[in-house]
Symmetry: D2
Subunit: 328 residues, 4 copies
């Protein structure tokens, strides 16, 4: 067995596409308390107060909601080269770019399902303006106390046609650990896979898209430090007329304490806390069958039917034979 070396450090940034950029900005800035650090035309770059990178969320106006580019940071320049070689060997590479805001050169690729991704190493360290400097030296930015005040980007979940194919790509080509899996029909149908490059439980999940299409987003997830903050987020969303799809409740899978809502552009967004860390280098993937998985909830609400079907871009039944969805 070849020794596994961690080449991906962490999820670097997520780009969300939105047909209602003003509403989406209001959601992440006013309600979620993120800061806008950069603008480029109609595109905005935001950060949570605890994010190390200058920006971790890119909001891009588009015809339809959905996921843009998912950026992964490599652990070193050498690790970056190794992963690019592996991606190219899979035939999924798209080539080098000069890097998005706050990042150096990046290598663009697609996962097997067609989601746009890139990997990079060079990153500009965030330097806050005076009014956003924290009194805590180890905090990259002031805790402003505005709204939900999310700490950092945590993970995302991607719908895909074939969970095994994409899960193997994340494991073997990107080098992630498979933390948990949901497999139905006596081991035949892999419904979901939760993967991470680090002790964090998962930074990407692949979930089977019943619509049979490619390239959709299930949700992006922002971290808060306490379950009380998730419940406070529920109060804030409820007061502001934002649809809460599920939670606050506790998943069995991942043990995460979740709250799912849709931002005005239509993308599902989670406020997240809890979960658990995985340190064991010989971790045995926890596999759930139909009965063990149940509704995916340890306690709290059963997840509604929309949780299994709704994603962005929204697909109509007749369009579901499309291959890769391009909401741009």
């Amino acid at each position: 067995m070849v020794e596994r070396i961690q080449d991906v450090a962490h999820l670097g940034a997520v780009e969300l596409l939105t047909p209602k950029p003003e509403g989406t900005l209001w959601f992440f800035h006013d309600l979620f308390g993120m800061e806008i650090v950069h603008r480029d035309g109609g595109t905005h770059y935001l950060r949570g107060y605890g994010d190390h990178a200058a920006a971790t969320l890119k909001i891009t106006p588009a015809k339809a909601a959905g996921i843009g580019c998912v950026a992964w940071r490599a652990t070193s320049p050498e690790a970056l080269e190794r992963r690019v070689a592996a991606i190219e060997a899979e035939g999924l590479g798209l080539g080098w770019s000069n890097g998005d805001f706050g990042r150096g050169r990046s290598y663009r690729f697609r996962d097997p399902d067609g989601h746009a991704m890139e990997i990079y190493y060079e990153e500009v360290r965030y330097a806050p303006p005076p009014e956003l400097r924290s009194t805590l030296k180890n905090l990259p930015q002031k805790f402003t106390g505005r709204g939900v005040n999310v700490r950092r980007m945590d993970h995302l979940a991607l719908f895909c046609k074939s969970v095994p194919e994409n899960r193997r790509f994340a494991q073997e080509t990107l080098g992630m650990r498979l933390s948990e899996q949901v497999i139905f029909n006596q081991g035949r149908d892999e419904i979901g896979a939760w993967l991470s490059p680090s002790p964090v439980h998962h930074q990407v999940a692949y979930v089977a898209d019943a619509a049979g299409v490619h390239g959709r987003l299930h949700h992006v997830s922002l971290w808060v430090d306490n379950r009380g903050d998730v419940m406070r987020a529920a109060d804030i969303l409820a007061e502001n007329g934002v649809f809460i799809e599920a939670g606050p409740s506790k998943h069995n899978n991942s043990q995460g304490f979740y709250l799912y809502s849709y931002e005005p552009g239509g993308n599902r967004v989670e406020v997240y806390s809890g979960s658990y860390l995985i340190f064991a280098p010989d971790w045995q993937t926890v596999v759930w069958n139909e009965q063990e998985r149940g509704t995916g909830v340890y306690w709290g609400a059963t997840l509604p039917a929309s949780f299994a079907s709704y994603g962005t871009p929204v697909v109509e039944a007749q369009k579901s034979n499309a291959t890769v969805i391009d909401p741009m």
Copy 2:
């Protein structure tokens, strides 16, 4: 024994005097998340999102920090008359006024130490403007999620020269329950008394003023629903350069979870949660001696020396032979 009837319903409103009204308003509005509901010249009236009355905090510009008028709401028109008669019998009455913002006619008086107070029954129910309407029908105002976002006025603590004299007034003339007491020197020196008209542990505390003066404020206290909110308040105060005098920690006396800071005008303000309710009609006052009281802390920080001596208005050593302090 004469049957005790509850004639005071609750603490109605507190007036704070401040030499720095802009800073004080920033503190209560921007950091504490209270709403400004009324202005009268330089005076402002504020409320917490869960306060039933239109306004519970009045901020009045003055030469020095301190406490203005403390308003108590009676349980009924009859109760109001009974209490006015009792106050007049004590010779502490000042007469009727037309009532402050949001209240009907009120009877003014002073407690034995000289703090200005009034009692009233008629109150204008708060009607929020459209942007402050809550989606929760039983919440008088939207939870905005701004800063500490205190829920309501909870209680206040008053420095006084003679705790027994003022405590007896609150018990016998106002009809409050004596929840707890601190008595040192083998029962001779009453250092503090915690009183309430309702199951809430205390709505007023009388504390011995070592400066030997009259009429000072120890602190006013705003309620948040959870200890996590008190700790969140600590983060917000720390990030905004506001002095934290003590906490978040847990008192032994009252079991309250506290955080004490000074607003820019100099008044000590507490963010408070926890504590316990007292329902027993035959409650036996819990009395603490020196050893039992210790530092007043069950766990957390020992209270600093300033906690026993600092009050508003601030007194200089040479001025401490003053009788009643008038910061106006």
Copy 3:
């Protein structure tokens, strides 16, 4: 208008009937962390660590689950006499008894729906054995840290055939405040009423029993100080195979943070925190119609259908023409 005087101080104790007394004891002692303070044959008396009375929960073996006697404490001997006179005037009195464990003479009666109740004033103050003495002088008993470790009895909800009739009895004969109401069909069908003798939001709720029978219990509710403790209770119940019917989630009505489960005997038991206090003497009852009430949930799980129909004793369809249910 006659002045309303508070004659009932608080809910004193609740008696639960159980066909599985061992399981019920395991539930309240081992899981909920209550102490057993007295035994009388197969009957057990328990308390939460913060209960002022010696015992607040009586567990009585019976053929079927259900509610036994609900005891209310009066605010004074005079108040007791006034309430007894009022109850007798309604023709609902049953007469004086010598009092249950820890209480003096008590007056027995039935509410209009037939639930057994009593009212008393004299109460024996709890004196803990050495191993249960708290290091906190104002805590009646040591916080043991066993399981859920509920603090105190909070309230109960009673099914009844006619909500208006029972609600009026609680208001007019017992003297409680009507905090909230659910009324459907344009004001014609009163579905639920939440009442309390004190600033606590409710200590008894009357809920319409769709089974059309009398005398059933909807749930009894135990208090914990924090929402985190409610979620910890969910973990403990889930780990011990106890059915969780709903929550942890937040009600719209009452704003309470709830967790409903069934103890092994079949009675629905709630772990409860949050909610809000009502101090205003001129409180306007908050009335919810169908649309406002929705599922009764502000955020979290929708309440399952069983929440509206399940009560104890369990009734079979054909038995539902019974008048008063006697599970003894």
Copy 4:
């Protein structure tokens, strides 16, 4: 620059020496809710409910309190070999052993200060007995709800004569990241260093021992998921007469929410939550000088003088010229 590869996965287990083994066991089993999984003579092996390994805490009777062997798990067999080679190159190796309970062959060594350590890869996965099986498939053991109920071993802090020497060993020989540092006297005196092999903020801290001796323990730290659990621990410790040295409060350095107590054997034990994760591969160590460091507290209690001086084994002034302390 040579690419840094993570060869140490995590802190595997900590051995505590105690002159009062019964008291120490009571502390960790009854109060902290850990399970005893193995006994070997008077030595006991314990685990938190969330620990992946069978045992993470070894309690060994000894003449004096102190730290026994600190075990580190390697990320792979190859990583183990690389680290052993590096340790041997430093001349600090002691040789291979057959491994302690639950582990395969282990390589013993000492850090420059003389603390006993070992590194291993093979580990027996924990298999709970039926009564300790969790209903959560991804939880290695039932959450029992007993006492503090710590989730897992988190980190330890070691006193040492030379922080730079030991810190460099952890960085260069074991391959850890230096998260934070405290350096006084304009960069001359390194007082403390916080290191970790993973995104967890620190799993070992080296702190300057003012006593000028070697081999002492500052504290071991157990993790709970929420700050509410830390405060609950404070209640439990206070109720059981266990000395609380500091907290619950929030450190500035590490942002951890801490509670420090001494177990009956005398070792300082922390209950810990919060803190933050470090994902950036190019993390710049946060360095604190005297003014920035202050008392080491962001809010809450100032740490008492004992926090800087007390360690185990306890040293008397005259003994402080000892080189390596052997409490066995």
